[in-house]
């Protein structure tokens, strides 16, 4: 899945996905759930707290 596709499915901009991948931005709980839903995985599998 491309960044643009993920961005569209999660209803955010591509720049937000880039920032998330680079671990430069912490998403809101709502966005985290939306992204996990796109990949059809539990939240803790999509995101980890470092």
């Amino acid at each position: 899945m491309t960044q643009a596709e993920l961005a569209e499915k999660a209803s955010v901009t591509r720049q937000t996905i880039i920032a998330l991948e680079a671990q430069k931005y912490s998403p809101s709980l709502e966005l985290a759930f939306r992204i996990a839903k796109v990949f059809d995985v539990p939240l803790e599998e999509a995101f980890q707290y470092n």
């Binding site: 901009t13 720049q15 937000t16 920032a19 709502e30 966005l31």
Partner: protein, 149 residues
């Protein structure tokens, strides 16, 4: 065109706004100070010319940006950065207004030393504060966007 891919539609719009602020500041301040007119018909003419040029710039540049790049809906990150920039803008404008109030009080107390503070001069200072505040807002937004890429 490849350059445009590195920037979102929103970032390009902020850049355009920042450049507009800088151009307006440079044009307006240089015209006012070279003509040495702080009031009257000349000031009205300078303000009118500045407004017309700003409108033409906005139509051309913002139109081109929105035609060349895909317009995106604001997301939560945009709103957070917008709020951060509004805070900076708020501090700048309130600091400026406080500065004007101090200037007016000092002007009334020591008029002979710092010269007469006329309404057109106050209007000019307010305009400069507004431009500074807007520039601060744009710079904060761009800093946040670039910091996180």
């Amino acid at each position: 065109m490849k350059f445009l891919n590195n920037y979102s539609n929103r970032e390009l719009n902020i850049w355009a706004e920042l450049i507009l602020n800088i151009l307006v500041s440079l044009f307006f301040v240089s015209k006012v100070f070279t003509s040495n007119q702080f009031g009257g018909e000349v000031l009205v003419q300078i303000i009118s010319t500045t407004i017309i040029l700003a409108i033409v710039y906005s139509i051309v540049v913002f139109g081109a940006i929105n035609a060349l790049t895909k317009r995106e809906e604001k997301d939560e990150r945009d709103y957070i950065y917008e709020l951060k920039s509004y805070r900076i803008s708020y501090y700048l404008s309130h600091g400026g207004i406080l500065g004007i109030i101090c200037l007016i009080v000092f002007n009334a107390l020591y008029q002979e030393n710092i010269g007469l503070l006329t309404p057109p001069k106050i209007a000019m200072i307010l305009l400069i504060i507004a431009l500074l505040s807007s520039t601060g807002k744009s710079l904060t937004q761009l800093f946040n966007y670039r910091k996180n890429i």
